[in-house]
């Protein structure tokens, strides 16, 4: 009956889920119902037989019963297919019942229960069925299968996306909400794919590659463009110091590179910061050279000179182009204050004289610095230009000229020293770049050109680097103690102060040790120094200070403590 109908139905229409299921059920039913029928028949027969045994007693009843039973059996036979299934409660039975009874629209529900093997076919069939049933179009029916093929990979994600998209588009199109519960209720990708059919054709494309659909392509293009530009600028800026480091003489290419960067990059002012970074590298190379030239005569002006030297010759190297130098100085001025200039102007004359001595001493080194000296002579011109550019540096300019006039023979070398002093004041303004030079000094250690390593003592290069790093350590401590934001120029100032302090410290220690008739400095000298400095009073003892400021590990090393076994550490 139903089967016949199903068969006819299947023949007429395209294979739908229902038809497929029916076919399956039919093929299977042929066996089981017979068994069941036979079983039922047998049971019924037995039932019949048993009453038949009682025919004698109740013939009519038995007859009636038989008839009724037969009728019932027939009915049962008719029902066997159903009832048997019902009783057995197999998926097959359930399906068949539902097929027979339930409407088409609700097929999706039971189908979710069906084995997933059937899903692909079922999908198509159901889709087509639903297409027939629903008047809405389903353009790309092939796509959901593909999605289904990919479905097992990440059905969950897609479901959510699909549901969302379906929901959105459903809202847009005003789809009936009844379809959504179907999709939501189902737990398999099948239903989600089925939901697609009710969605607009746009949906399948997104379903294909949901991730890509979500990403706005234009967004990346803008970022990449800006990023490339930044890359260009930075690469150009970085390329220049690299070149300059390797060939300090061949500064032309660097300059050209620097000049080339200008049109690419933003306005010069904006670009100057990047060049600042490049310049410090150059600074440092020249700084090292200058230091080596000057290093052995490290007197009181030594640290000062060295502090300022990084700025000057390197600047000379880098700033061949006039415009660039001018702009650079301008920017430097803009950045830093001019306060540093004033106090150092007084010291310029002293330094000029000292520089003379340095020049003479440095003359020995001029051979090796020949090449660089030639470059520096060029820069001396620039220096003069720069000094002219610098307004308030008249005494410097005079000192420069004097120095240049005197040191005729050790011309090459003197030029460096000229720059050392001449550039002191303006390069104080260029404190930030030397700062960056200092900071980047460690990186540039292997790069600078080889100068005479015949340093008198340890060598100016190792002198400068760890000196600076050690100083920086104290500078950081200073900023930590200050607990307030500080300007970079202020940190420079702190460095200078620390230098002076160290000089004073060493002098004092020397005095104390010699006073004690010793040649080595002992902790007692330090204690005396601290007392004289006023750090240690009768109120405040050394140990108190140690406890306050030093970490525990140092404390136990400094303060004698008694340990077990009648021992004191550290030993007194």
């Amino acid at each position: 009956m139903a089967e016949a109908m199903a068969d006819s139905y299947s023949q007429d229409s395209e294979p739908t889920t229902r038809t497929l299921l029916r076919r399956v059920l039919d093929t299977a039913d042929t066996r089981t119902p017979q068994r069941r029928r036979s079983a039922r028949i047998g049971a019924q027969k037995s039932l019949l037989e048993t009453p038949s045994s009682r025919r004698l007693s109740i013939s009519t009843k038995t007859n009636a019963r038989q008839r009724s039973q037969r009728a019932r059996s027939i009915g049962r036979l008719a029902h066997v297919q159903i009832s048997g299934h019902l009783e057995e409660q197999t998926p097959r039975t359930l399906l068949k019942n539902i097929l027979l009874t339930a409407p088409e629209s609700s097929i999706m529900m039971p189908e979710s229960v069906v084995k997933p093997v059937l899903t692909p076919q079922v999908v198509q069939s159901s889709r087509q069925e639903s297409s027939q049933s629903s008047l809405e179009l389903q353009l790309p029916e092939l796509e959901p299968p593909t999605t289904l093929a990919l479905g097992p990979v990440a059905p969950g994600r897609r479901k959510r996306r699909l549901r969302l998209s379906v929901f959105q588009q459903g809202i847009d199109q005003g789809l009936p909400l009844s379809q959504e519960p179907h999709g939501n209720a189902s737990a398999s990708s099948l239903t989600s794919s089925l939901n697609l059919t009710f969605a607009t054709p746009l949906q399948p494309q997104s379903v294909k590659r949901p991730g890509l659909a979500r990403r706005p392509p234009t967004h990346r293009a803008v970022d990449v463009g800006a990023f490339l530009q930044d890359l260009r600028d930075t690469s150009l800026a970085l390329a220049s110091p690299g070149n300059s480091l390797r060939t300090p003489v061949a500064t032309l290419p660097t300059d050209t590179v620097l000049e080339d960067t200008q049109p690419f990059s933003q306005p010069l002012v904006g670009h100057s910061p990047s060049v600042h970074h490049s310049l410090p590298h150059l600074f440092y190379t020249e700084a090292k050279d200058a230091e080596k030239a000057v290093g052995h005569r490290t007197q009181s002006t030594g640290p000062r000179l060295q502090n300022h030297s990084p700025g000057k010759p390197a600047q000379l190297l880098a700033t061949k182009a006039k415009n660039f130098t001018m702009s650079f100085t301008n920017t430097i001025r803009a950045i830093s204050g001019k306060d540093e200039v004033e106090p150092l102007q007084g010291g310029v004359s002293e330094e000029a004289e000292e520089s003379m001595e340095v020049n003479l001493s440095v003359s020995k080194v001029k051979d090796t610095t020949g090449t660089q000296g030639s470059v520096r002579t060029e820069k001396s011109e620039r220096h003069t230009e720069m000094t002219e550019a610098v307004e308030a540096k008249e005494p410097e300019g005079s000192s420069d000229e004097d120095i240049s006039g005197r040191t005729a023979s050790p011309e090459l070398v003197s030029s460096t020293t000229e720059f050392l002093q001449a550039r002191q004041l303006p390069f104080l303004e260029s404190a930030p770049p030397p700062n960056t030079a200092i900071l980047s000094s460690e990186q540039l250690e292997p790069l600078p050109t080889r100068l005479p390593p015949r340093a008198r003592t340890l060598g100016p290069r190792p002198h400068q680097d760890p000196h600076k790093t050690g100083l920086n350590h104290y500078v950081k401590l200073f900023s930590f103690y200050a607990r307030m934001p500080m300007e970079k120029a202020a940190l420079e100032m702190v460095e200078k102060c620390l230098d002076k302090y160290f000089q004073h410290l060493c002098d004092d220690l020397e005095v104390f040790s010699t006073h004690a008739g010793r040649k080595t400095v002992r902790p007692e000298d330090l204690e005396l120094l601290m007392r004289r400095q006023g750090l240690v009073n009768d109120q405040v003892s050394l140990h108190v200070l140690v406890e306050r400021h030093l970490p525990l590990e140092y404390r136990q090393l400094l303060i004698p403590c008694a340990f077990s076994g009648n021992s004191v550490f550290p030993a007194q």
Binding site: D339, F480, V494, Y501, E510
Partner: protein, 101 residues
């Protein structure tokens, strides 16, 4: 003390060679002068030479501390939220004079 702990962290981790630095400074200044007294102390654990280095470091610390305090006071008086060069400079003058000994 929080202060000391943070400082110690910096010391232990970041400090390259403070005593090396200090010793180098001293050598630079007075090459003819010797520095340490390592003979007294047990050498095995001392990463550096004697108490001298530590005390010098203490001295520097105190100096920096005083300098920072003084410059901070100057900044306060100038009613600045930022410590500027002038403040530091003025403070340095005072403190250096103080630490003359």
């Amino acid at each position: 003390m929080a202060l000391s702990t943070t400082v110690s962290q910096r010391k232990m981790i970041k400090r390259k060679a403070p005593r090396g630095f200090l010793k180098r400074v001293f050598k630079r200044q007075k090459p003819h002068l010797r520095l340490e007294t390592s003979g007294d102390l047990l050498v095995r654990f001392c990463p550096f030479f004697g108490e001298w280095g530590r005390k010098v470091h203490l001295n520097c610390l105190l100096f920096v501390h005083r300098l920072a305090e003084e410059s901070r006071m100057n900044a306060y008086e100038a009613k600045c939220g930022v410590i500027k060069k002038e403040h530091v400079q003025a403070a340095a003058k005072v403190i250096l004079k103080k630490s003359r000994g």
